[in-house]
Symmetry: C2
Subunit: 152 residues, 2 copies
């Protein structure tokens, strides 16, 4: 396993323009991860990574996260089969967020509701009211895949 | 101005499958916003919104955020001219994140470093070392646009 990441430099220009990966984990030890499909850039999910999850993702090429609800390391798709093979990892300017470009195995569904993306509802205005409209249907039946505490 | 958003329902299925926008603001009163270009889905930035920022974004069609570093409401592009016109807003399954599809005005640059996207560095392996490689150059000169506390 690679050694721990170095601490973020105090110098802003080094942090933003440098070639050293120095993730700025927050007070809970997490960075935010945006996950998109390598093929069409569709945003699939938003998740969080602690240091171990980020290291494992870099080392294995499979996306790992930290589950805040289950409070444990989470190898995406371990239960559902919808694993994520990582084609590219990017980091943002101040290094507190990463972007993963992935290919999804299994049913090509990333959301625990069975849909391709977690962002399946659009905000619409109907008769002056703000409502949500569902734009996509489940690709698998979550009830037949997960027990209650397993949705991944 | 629209009235405040309703509280999130206790029922998980209503939260995930319902048509009511009930954003789940965190302990700091924020949801995370992923911002992509409407044209090609390129991820431009990650930001945060408090209730006011989300309401203003829906009402005006221009992206507003909450700046955690400056601790104030932030109309994106007000200083730089790189404003974001919102074509679509989506919400994720558990309603603690939103996805904005936008068109960027001005220099078509979203990052305060002058680049199109904040995610301009790629994680690469060179001689067994993990490094960052810069993949895009600034589209404007931040030094000529911002004072130190204004980068937006």
């Amino acid at each position: 396993m690679t050694s721990s990441f170095k601490s973020a430099p105090a110098d802003k220009s080094e942090l933003e323009e440098g070639s050293e990966l120095t993730p700025r984990f927050d007070a809970n030890g997490l960075v935010t991860a945006v996950v998109v499909d390598s093929g069409d850039n569709e945003v699939l999910m938003l998740a969080h990574m602690n240091e171990e999850a980020l290291r494992l993702t870099i080392e294995t090429g499979l996306a790992h996260y930290w589950s805040r609800s289950r409070n444990k390391l989470w190898k995406k798709g371990e239960t559902s089969g919808n694993m994520q093979t990582v084609d590219e990892i990017r980091v943002d300017c101040d290094q507190d967020a990463v972007l993963l470009k992935v290919r999804v195995s299994g049913a090509d569904a990333t959301c625990h509701t069975g849909r391709r993306s977690c962002f399946y509802r659009k905000v619409v205005e109907t008769d002056g009211q703000t409502r949500l409209e569902i734009g996509s249907e489940p690709l698998f039946d979550p009830g037949s895949v997960y027990t209650d505490d397993q949705a991944n």
